[in-house]
Point group: C2
Chain length 276, copies 2
């Protein structure tokens, strides 16, 4: 059989193909938006604490009406998969040009009570400079705290208006499989969002050590101590100043600017040094 005949066969096949032959289902995308915020300054000398936060939206419609959920939406039939999270973020939260990476695809049969829906979750990182525009009404930032003891992971999300708490139990050893975790005590989050949040936290804590993604959450100019505080709040532990500066020094460039007026020695401002 020569190539021409083969191409012809393929065309004939495609023209007569019946797309209803296979099961069809809906595909959604959820976006886990991470950002850094400052706590209110308690004292003119003290530095504000860095808070690691995620963005949640209050559902106005069924299912899970009045619960909090990650911004998300359906993939359109003629839309690139990578475009869906961009479109959804723009519409639901008024955020543009953000760092996005695919997190994981969740496909448990009963994750949506309406119908079979597979969810491709994305992780987004944004910085203060991108928050010039206001959030839409039903969105709020929640500070993340995680307490881990053996096979029980407790995550607490706090905003000005609400506090959300849930627990994940590790029910078997395959840490890569979302079915290895069981959501318990979840009152306020929709769908399997607790799992998505947990997977995102894991990813973030890992990748911060071997990539430059943190800088997507930093403003253009920052002090090294601010950057260190961001690492610390994400990793959940303190770092030593000289060690941190040694590691970070090749990734940043000192600028001519300083941050002063704080009741202590002013700090040099740095910016990210793009490796390309």
């Amino acid at each position: 059989m020569n190539s021409k005949n083969s191409d012809h066969d393929e065309l004939t096949f495609l023209n007569s193909y019946d797309p209803t032959l296979y099961d069809r289902l809906s595909l959604t995308t959820d976006i886990l938006v991470f950002g850094i915020s400052d706590s209110i300054n308690p004292n003119y000398r003290k530095l504000p604490e860095k808070k690691f936060s995620i963005l949640l939206v209050k559902r106005k419609t069924h299912p899970f009406k009045d619960k909090w959920c990650l911004p998300g939406g359906f993939l359109q039939i003629d839309e690139e998969l990578t475009n869906a999270p961009k479109r959804v973020l723009a519409k639901e939260t008024n955020l543009h040009d953000v760092y996005l990476e695919q997190l994981y695809t969740f496909g448990a049969v009963n994750r949506d009570p309406r119908l079979r829906v597979v969810n491709v979750a994305y992780m987004a990182l944004i910085n203060k400079d991108q928050l010039q525009d206001e959030l839409l009404a039903d969105a709020a930032w929640f500070n993340v705290t995680q307490i881990q003891k053996e096979n029980e992971i407790k995550i607490i999300l706090k905003s000005e208006i609400d506090e959300i708490c849930f627990t994940l139990l590790k029910i078997n050893d395959d840490i890569n499989d979302p079915l290895s975790y069981k959501i318990v005590d979840n009152e306020l989050l929709a769908f399997d969002n607790p799992l998505v949040i947990f997977f995102g936290l894991l990813r973030m804590r890992n990748k911060i050590n071997y990539t430059d993604i943190v800088f997507n959450m930093m403003p253009k100019y920052f002090t090294l101590k601010e950057l260190q505080n961001v690492y610390e709040v994400i990793l959940g532990r303190k770092l030593l100043d000289p060690a941190f500066r040694r590691i970070i020094k090749d990734k940043v460039v000192q600028t001519e600017f300083v941050r002063s007026g704080k009741g202590h020695r002013p700090s040099l401002l740095y910016r990210y040094k793009d490796p390309t």
Copy 2:
């Protein structure tokens, strides 16, 4: 509004929900199966070389009839997403109880000429002990060689019956986005399989350094040199013996067995020491 009313609302909503409201599409899963094979022994003294291989299947039907492709199939509407790769592997390649992890979800609009299909790719690792049963007729193992120069990645797949070669061009800096790579010179592989293979190789080369996944590709008993050769063929570079043994020593246990009869000093056999 009290909780009882709210639940009632939710039920009413779900009962009247029309699932045809949203776009529906098909979802497939491809499985990138990695394994290690030995080259034929050239000399009674020499050790056989380790080859890093993937499993491909020859397509018997349109589209892409007669091209090679990863084992794959459609997700069924009532099937757990994580079950699909297990079922497909059992059916298409006669492999059971293999290590599986989700690799990436590919959703370019035109990746399937038939209809809009989103593909959740999985990575599987298997070892020789699992290969007792024969492969099905149209499946074959292909040795993987990768040559990388700047923004061009050339991958060569060799089996006894065929040789496949393709190139990926990095067309922008977002290495996490499959749209950043363009497939060129691909004659023999179906769909966007070159991308899946490339993503799997990346994942494998990274994870080998901070997880124990290699052991899923090792037989129950192995020598430290064999294990080292597996690391070397996956990473594409030689390692120093003492350094390798230092790193690996806490992950393995020495057994009472030795491998002898090879024209040189016999080697102790080790097995994986499960950390749990």
